[in-house]
């Protein structure tokens, strides 16, 4: 699974496709304090990004891929 859902933490891995977006949305809708770990992520489908942005998800770690991080961090950074 590209997204591994733990109790209160979602681990994103490799490429997360559009199919994951619905599940991610449902999962986030029930957990307002959930943390998202993107460190192993290499690409995120736009639909997922949109869910994360809407949920203003708490990102616990950013992607190791610097270029992807540069895209995601400004968009997902909280409290801005």
């Amino acid at each position: 699974m590209p997204i591994e859902f733990k109790k209160n933490r979602a681990l994103f891995r490799d490429e997360v496709s559009v199919e994951e977006a619905e599940g991610l949305l449902e999962w986030l809708q029930t957990r307002s304090t959930a943390k998202v770990d993107l460190s192993a992520l290499s690409h995120l489908h736009t639909a997922n990004l949109q869910v994360l942005m809407t949920a203003m998800a708490n990102i616990s770690s950013w992607p190791k891929d610097a270029e992807l991080r540069a895209w995601l961090e400004p968009a997902l950074k909280r409290g801005e």
Partner: protein, 845 residues
């Protein structure tokens, strides 16, 4: 970067396909344009035309042919506007588009020959593209964003963002403020003065996920990407109301890729993307203007812009340069290598805000080049590295962590390496375009279903392959013909009758199959005359417009088929004839009206099959040919003498237009009148064993009739015997065979003649003509065999020893040493394995 290939490039299948496909598309485009001329309101044709040009443009974008893409892009934009009713179709527009298509055709030819487009074409391409753009209603006055007008159908989602861009490039300036300083600085460092950057506002459609788009992915892989950000194009709803499958995000991107490349990249989403040009200097300007007074010091301090990534990549680059300088081999490109290093260092120092360093580096480089020691460069590198790291360390201690990481590829080292490579083989200060380097692996070769061209279900086969089949079947026919001889020998020599019958049985089966096979292969080589005809609508249109004549062209029997070689060799003579008809034959509307004819002239080109020949007629209803004028002209040019002037009849006079050097046009134009033309037509037609006949009625028009064999592959020959040898004479030359009693042959002066059917026919002995020292043999009734042939326009009797059957042979031209033998047109193999020489009657008489 000029990469002249040392060796011929290996054939690129993709390029080959591109060339053949583009040729088809060009043809279709020209055809559609002509059709559109007749029915300018036909939306269907317009759509097809648009699709043709669109596909052409898209395909050209697969390769680096910006000249071609530029013109096609302009054409596509223009057609797009015509399609959506924002521009009006006109003759002028059609002219410009046809010009553009001609130019593209020219480029295709060039690519086919050299696999590249000469850089000198760029100017022309610009001119053509401008001419096309001029025809567009000027929605936008600024050239930079003029292309934006080409996008059809504004998507409501991004309407406001688009409008702000459409206001002109100035509107982009505030947008540039969105770029973090760090990103802007390093983007600026990658640019040279005068570089053009592009601001791309990408607003995906809401439903784009359903189309399989992943906008973030598209944005990430944008060619030449320097910076980009994600933003919510619309306010995001609450989490409970979010529709996962409706895209609400948008992207702002900054790229240094060429415009063509960006257009190509986003060619499937033109309506979702807005691209505006941003001169590179604006990045610098933007910085000064946009940073508030409090930030001024920030901007002035270059160390502020550094991130950890920067440090890592700077170090990597410096290490790489150091390594290059330490190399102790001295290859031929050593100087280039040094220059490349120097350039990289200069760029690095500039990126770091150190502008004075360049002169130091230049001096060090000059020293290194003359002394062939790198010490000075190396020393500079080391000191600079040391000071740089020192200042860096100091600066980073006081520096706040960056608010956001710049998404600048140039800073992550990858591009830096690309740049190193780019400059290393380009030499010192050549343009290196990092965008291009990257673009190579990002070109999308996938095509969408709607791009496929629906065409006839046919194979494109190289002609050589068909020719080989043809040769093989020829050999098969010959070896098959050996079987009856074998059967005969089995019976007469070995007395095995049973075997002989069996061989004959097998022979008839093989014979049938071989015949069918030969027929089938002939069919493969058959081509419709439409191949030649299709260029006429354009030709007639162009010429008649140039001459100020109104001409209606009627094409008939386009589906008539003949051998490919015949069809191809027909093209040039036909063009000559059509030009002649338009120039000399058809009158201007005023003259026509005065003569009581409709103002529009009619030119009919008709093809039909008659027995084993194709007949093509070119008929015009023009002023016809005046025999008196022709006679006079021919006399003036010395083609006929005074006696002939009096003697020849009208038809013969008209036939004089086939004589070389005759031109009736008073003024030499670029169309006709140079005195070459009809004689060329005749010789071209005769070369393929055809005949051409002209008929003309003064005042009513001219009709030219060309008759051609269906196929040249199989020649019907009559086999004749002379001095014990067999020769073949093409049946096209044979008029009749007669036996003339020796007593009826008279000798007038030195030549023999006989009266046949009331006409005096000169007789010549084939033996004499071929230099065989033997007299023609007569039969028991003391009659000589006379083969009546026509050589050119004259008829002649050939004295031979005897006649044999006629047969279809596959004639092989001579090559090598024998090719100089003009007395024979070729050779053919007979069933018994012997070689039959085919006489070239016209040459020997």
């Amino acid at each position: 970067m000029n990469s002249e290939p040392m060796n011929p490039l290996p054939p690129n299948p993709l390029l080959e396909q591109f060339l053949s496909e583009s040729a088809d598309l060009l043809e279709a485009t020209a055809k559609k344009l002509m059709q559109l001329e007749d029915s300018p309101d036909d939306q269907g044709i317009l759509n097809e035309l648009f699709r043709c040009v669109h596909t052409l443009k898209g395909n050209s974008g697969l390769f680096t042919f910006p000249e071609m893409t530029r013109v096609l892009h302009a054409g596509e934009d223009l057609l797009g506007m015509v399609r959506s009713g924002r521009a009006v179709y006109s003759r002028e527009l059609a002219d410009r588009l046809l010009d553009a298509m001609d130019y593209v055709g020219l480029l295709l030819g060039e690519i086919e020959a050299t696999e590249r487009i000469d850089a000198s074409r760029a100017l022309e391409s610009q001119r053509l593209a401008e001419a096309l753009r001029k025809l567009m209603p000027s929605l936008l006055s600024n050239g930079d964003t003029a292309t934006a007008a080409g996008f059809q159908g504004a998507s409501s989602i991004a309407a406001d963002a688009r409008n702000s861009l459409a206001d002109g490039p100035g509107a982009v300036l505030p947008q540039l403020a969105a770029i973090p300083d760090a990103a802007r600085k390093s983007a600026l460092a990658q640019c040279r003065d005068g570089d053009q950057l592009f601001w791309i506002a990408y607003r995906p459609q809401r439903e784009c996920f359903f189309h399989g788009d992943d906008p973030l992915n598209s944005a990430r892989h944008t060619p030449g990407l320097m910076w980009g950000r994600v933003l919510a194009a619309e306010p995001l709803p609450s989490l409970a109301e979010l529709d996962t499958y409706s895209c609400l995000l948008g992207f702002d991107l900054l790229s240094n890729a060429p415009r063509e490349e960006l257009d190509q990249y986003y060619r499937y989403l033109p309506e979702q993307v807005e691209i505006a040009a941003v001169p590179a200097q604006w990045l610098a300007k933007g910085q000064r203007e946009m940073s508030g007074p409090g930030n001024a010091s920030l901007a002035a301090d270059p160390s502020r812009a550094r991130s950890e990534d920067d440090e890592a990549s700077f170090n990597r680059i410096l290490a790489a340069q150091r390594q290059i300088l330490l190399l102790d081999d001295r290859p031929a490109w050593h100087a280039g290598r040094l220059k490349a290093v120097a350039e990289v260092l200069a760029n690095l120092s500039q990126a770091d805000g150190e502008t004075s360093a360049r002169t130091d580096i230049q001096a060090a480089l000059a020293e290194a080049l003359t002394s062939s020691h790198n010490t000075l460069l190396l020393a500079w590198l080391d000191t600079w590295t040391a000071t740089w790291i020192a200042t860096w360390r100091a600066a980073s201690k006081t520096m706040q962590p960056e608010a956001s990481l710049p998404c600048v590829r140039g800073a992550d080292g990858r591009i830096a390496t690309a740049q190193t490579e780019g400059t290393a083989d380009a030499g010192p200060f050549a343009e290196s375009d990092p965008g291009k380097v990257r673009a190579d692996d990002q070109i999308k070769f996938g095509r969408r279903a709607e791009d496929s061209i629906t065409g006839p279900k046919s194979l494109k086969v190289d002609q050589a392959k068909v020719d080989r089949l043809m040769n093989l079947i020829g050999e098969l026919v010959v070896s098959k013909n050996a079987l009856p001889y074998l059967a005969q020998r089995a019976e007469s020599q070995f007395g095995v009758r049973e075997l002989s019958r069996e061989i004959k049985g097998q022979y008839s089966t093989i014979n049938r199959i071989a015949d069918e096979m030969q027929d089938a292969i002939m069919q493969v080589r058959m081509m419709a005359v439409s191949f030649v005809f299709q260029r006429f609508p354009r030709l007639v249109r162009d010429i008649s417009r140039k001459l100020g004549k109104e001409v209606q062209l009627v094409l008939e029997g386009e589906q008539t088929e003949a051998d490919k070689n015949i069809i191809e060799s027909l093209a040039d003579p036909l063009i000559h004839i059509v030009r002649n008809s338009l120039d000399h034959g058809l009158e201007t509307p005023e003259v026509r009206l005065a003569a009581g004819k409709p103002a529009t002239g009619k030119l009919t080109i008709r093809a039909a099959q008659e027995a084993d020949r194709v007949v093509i007629e070119i008929v015009d209803d023009g002023k016809g040919i005046d025999p008196a004028v022709i006679k006079q002209k021919a006399y003036e040019k010395g083609i006929i003498d005074e006696a002939a002037l009096e003697r020849i009849g009208d038809q013969e006079a008209i036939n004089l237009i086939f004589a070389a050097g005759l031109s009736t046009a008073a003024v030499v134009s670029d169309l006709s009148g140079r005195g070459v033309g009809m004689d060329v037509v005749r010789s071209a037609v005769e070369k393929i064993n055809g005949t051409v006949v002209i008929e003309s009625v003064l005042g009513n028009g001219t009709s030219i009739r060309i008759s051609l064999p269906l196929s040249m592959a199989v020649t019907q020959v009559m086999i004749i015997e002379s001095d014990g040898q067999l020769f073949g004479v093409p049946m096209d030359n044979v008029v009749e065979t007669v036996r003339v009693p020796k007593t009826l042959i008279h000798t007038i002066k030195q030549s023999q003649t006989a009266v046949l059917r009331g006409r005096v026919i000169p007789l010549k002995s084939l033996n004499t003509l071929l230099g065989i020292p033997a007299a023609p043999r007569s039969n028991s009734d003391d009659e000589l065999a006379v083969l009546l042939v026509h050589a050119g326009s004259a008829e002649l009797g050939l004295l031979v020893d005897g006649f044999q059957e006629t047969m279809g042979v596959i004639q092989k031209p001579f090559n090598g040493l024998l090719s100089g033998l003009s007395a024979y047109s070729g050779s053919a193999l007979m069933g018994n394995g012997s070689v039959l020489m085919i006489l070239n009657i016209r040459e020997i008489v």
